[in-house]
């Protein structure tokens, strides 16, 4: 954990959410981005794998 030397104010930041899947941002970062000065999203994958595919991939 980092020790902050100055208070961190999210409302002063332009935030880019880096997420893997189309619904990750809403689950993980929605409120953070709502507090930011401006909010942007990068969604890395096409979201084409099903839950079953994920379960299989986790076993690889």
């Amino acid at each position: 954990m980092n020790t902050l030397t100055t208070p961190f104010n999210i409302s002063e930041h332009r935030v880019l959410s880096a997420s893997a899947h189309p619904d990750d941002l809403e689950m993980m970062n929605l409120e953070l981005l709502g507090e930011a000065e401006a909010a942007f999203a990068y969604v890395a994958t096409d979201g084409g794998a099903s839950t079953v595919d994920y379960a299989r991939s986790s076993l690889c």
Binding site: L4, F8, R14, Y42
Partner: protein, 171 residues
């Protein structure tokens, strides 16, 4: 069936995402890399592709902070972890070119420096826009049974907690 069009899962999720993000005023960029493969055979390639794309978006939108799923991907999903590493790559590329960003890493242990309270109805409504992934109640919100099935996400319905690596600090 007139008026009904069936699309593949990737297309449906893209549409759901565009609707959700635009609803909340979030501009989006889609990498369209293969779901479930970011930490597999071509992981170094994907990491650099993602990192370079993030660098481009930082410059394009004058970004000052990047939020990541954290070192554990929050829930351990290999794609989430790969994206976190890509964000670190982006930060390192930016630093080597004289620019820096703050990293906000989602913390699964409830031990971060930044705690953002969640407006639960708002988040449930946002998640409900991803109907292909989320079980919904008749009222159109996320079914509480989902959280019983995946309890790892339960804290995210009350608060989001982040570790902060400020711009200009050591890694």
């Amino acid at each position: 069936m007139p008026g009904v069009h069936f699309v593949d899962l990737a297309t449906r999720r893209r549409i759901e995402s565009e609707v959700a993000l635009s609803t909340y005023g979030i501009k989006s960029h889609y990498g369209e890399l293969p779901d479930g493969h970011l930490a597999k055979w071509h992981k170094d390639y994907y990491r650099h592709i993602m990192g370079i794309t993030l660098v481009s978006l930082v410059h394009k939108h004058d970004i000052t902070a990047i939020a990541t799923p954290g070192a554990t991907g929050f829930d351990g999903h290999p794609d989430h972890i790969a994206v976190h590493h890509a964000a670190i790559t982006a930060r390192d590329i930016l630093r080597s070119n004289g620019r820096d960003v703050t990293l906000l890493e989602l913390n699964a242990e409830d031990a971060g420096e930044l705690v953002v309270p969640v407006r639960r109805p708002r988040k449930l409504s946002a998640l409900a826009l991803h109907a292909s992934q989320m079980p919904l109640t008749p009222a159109g919100v996320l079914d509480p049974a989902f959280l019983q099935q995946y309890p790892v996400y339960t804290p995210l319905l009350t608060h989001e907690t982040y570790n902060i690596t400020p711009a200009g600090s050591a890694s």
